[in-house]
Symmetry: C2
Subunit: 355 residues, 2 copies
């Protein structure tokens, strides 16, 4: 989840000297996951390794069952003005997005819901409607779940789908020379969150688009399915943790570097940045929860991939190239700067959305 | 989850007059689920209806993918003296138990974990070990998950398995004349929780068994799989919500009544009740989280079912009969009394385990 990840997400290992008394906050999400992974016996012949967007189980006949679970926490993941309906919808969509990034059609959603005792009937109904919204927008159904009492609203969704093993797009196949592409422009959610949290003024024309990008995120299911059919994709991830972070994840899984020479800046973010004297590169690279796909494409099949995505009504935007080595670089306005392994810094200062 | 369900669980509908401003606490779990279900479009040809222990998706070749998600919340579901390792193990086991009750072998566990910022590295490691414990004890593997920041420890597990469609044991097939049976004796968890919460003194000999039943619950996977092969079972549920509640669930789903003429009282619970002047029927019927299977069996296949469960080292204990109508009755010591649709009352008074 965006905010959490930005709190926990740090590559600074100075605090991680194996002190058993370090707190979760000091450890960061990556170290926490590392600690947990060390405790797990690995299933033999896992079709998808730990650390990819989804988990998978061989079900025979060349098919995989794909499962993903991720949790929305009211206090940290629901910004001001997001309704219960939107929060529940988002809880479903963020899991569906991970399936989309693997080229998998979502079939079923399950929801385990933690409900504060004080929550009202009308709010609970809105949660039900939102879950249904999130699933049905992508032709999936909510099949079940469970309710529990919790101090804070917690909606933990599980998305389930089935795919041909050969169509699954992992994070790990990018090769030097591949084209890096995305399914949309970035910077809107970081801007939108600034409007919601810091109440920065914006003309309604662009303000609406920026805020909606936060409140009503969309998963790129059609695009993921279309790309999976082309066999052009060597690596794929969703950008729920921000463009920079997504590139770093592919870099780690594929052992490659990147040069981004065409930053995919959303025009609304450009205008917002100008108006408030903000760094648009920052908004574009280090935001998050944009749920666009970030993919690497075999150069020979670029046209095929582009056409496949266009066929479902979306532009596939070339932003750079996969390189040898581990460097992640951004070329912009004559300068070349490193792409850092972090989300949007400003989120770090946001302690809690709801009080 | 035990405690929550006992707080929320009430058949008293006087507060449920459709007031949009009723709180979750007033509504109760059943009404909350009802409200959410009303919002959901139902998947055509759902292999398992809403309200059963698990969800299912047809995956062809006569097989079903079985998915279950349920959440453990630190504040309400982790009693004193339960370690982080035990809590995480329980989060996995309680989901595996639902698969067991359907006759489904668990294959994979996913865990979405909400972690308070103050949690220590050593505790996080114990959570990882506990998750692995829970999965590996039943030959499943933890395949993935996600970490998030939360105010309270939340471990939302998803269990996944595959089964032959014809072997799935639902809640809905019980018929008058069927034998009602269970895979173990009841009352230990209710007693154990009294020891943990109210610090009632007990000789170590029985105290250990009672406390362990709470801290180290076990799922009846072998028993469920053995029973599914016999085709003797007409309805099945796990007793995570207590024996009385489980019988009421089968009653509702199958539209039948029950007469229980042989209450399956655990000897340790019997002794504990005597020592503390407690009502042993109360402890046995209205406890919860015992994770035994409660099944109804075709009378002609009783011996086959009994033998199948004995083959895996467990006794299948006959406790009564399925009857026409909706009455649930307990015959005990010459008296016949109704079996109420509730969990253990005393839990209602327990606000929070952890402070």
């Amino acid at each position: 989840m965006l905010k959490v990840r930005h709190i926990f997400k740090t590559f600074d290992n100075t605090l991680h000297g194996g002190f058993a008394l370090s707190s979760a906050k000091e450890l960061g999400e990556r170290k926490i996951i590392e600690i947990i992974l060390k405790c797990l016996e690995e299933m033999p012949n896992m079709p998808v390794p730990f650390g990819d967007d989804v988990s998978a189980v061989n079900i025979g006949h060349g098919k995989l069952a794909i499962i993903k679970t991720d949790m929305l926490v009211g206090k940290t993941d629901v910004p001001p003005r997001m309704s219960f309906r939107q929060a529940a919808r988002k809880a479903a969509v963020m899991n569906i997005s991970d399936l989309a990034a693997k080229g998998v059609e979502p079939v079923a959603i399950l929801a385990s819901i933690g409900i504060p005792r004080s929550l009202k009937e009308i709010d609970i109904e809105q949660i039900g409607i939102g879950l249904n919204d999130g699933a049905r927008e992508y032709d999936a159904y909510v099949l079940g779940g469970d309710t529990n009492e919790a101090s804070d609203l917690v909606i933990s969704c599980t998305a389930f789908g089935i795919c041909e093993k050969q169509h699954l797009m992992k994070r790990s196949g990018a090769r030097p020379g591949d084209i890096v592409a995305v399914t949309g422009f970035f910077g809107k959610t970081a801007s939108g969150l600034k409007i919601l949290l810091e109440k920065l003024s914006t003309p309604p024309k662009i303000g609406r688009a920026l805020v909606d990008s936060v409140l009503m995120p969309c998963a790129r299911v059609k695009e993921g399915l279309a790309l999976a059919q082309t066999h052009a994709v060597t690596a794929s991830i969703d950008s729920s943790d921000g463009l920079a972070w997504s590139l770093h994840e592919i870099s780690r899984a594929s052992n490659v570097g990147f040069i981004v020479d065409s930053l995919p800046v959303a025009p609304e973010a450009e205008e917002f940045a100008k108006r408030h004297n903000l760094n648009v590169t920052e908004l574009t690279l280090y935001g998050g929860e944009e749920y666009e796909l970030v993919v690497t494409i075999r150069p020979k099949l670029w046209e095929r991939a582009k056409k496949a995505v266009e066929t479902v009504g979306t532009a596939l935007i070339r932003i750079g190239l996969v390189k040898k080595g581990k460097a992640l670089l951004l070329k912009r306005k004559g300068e070349t700067v490193p792409i850092e392994a972090r989300g949007w810094e400003h989120f770090k200062t946001v302690k809690e959305f709801l009080t």
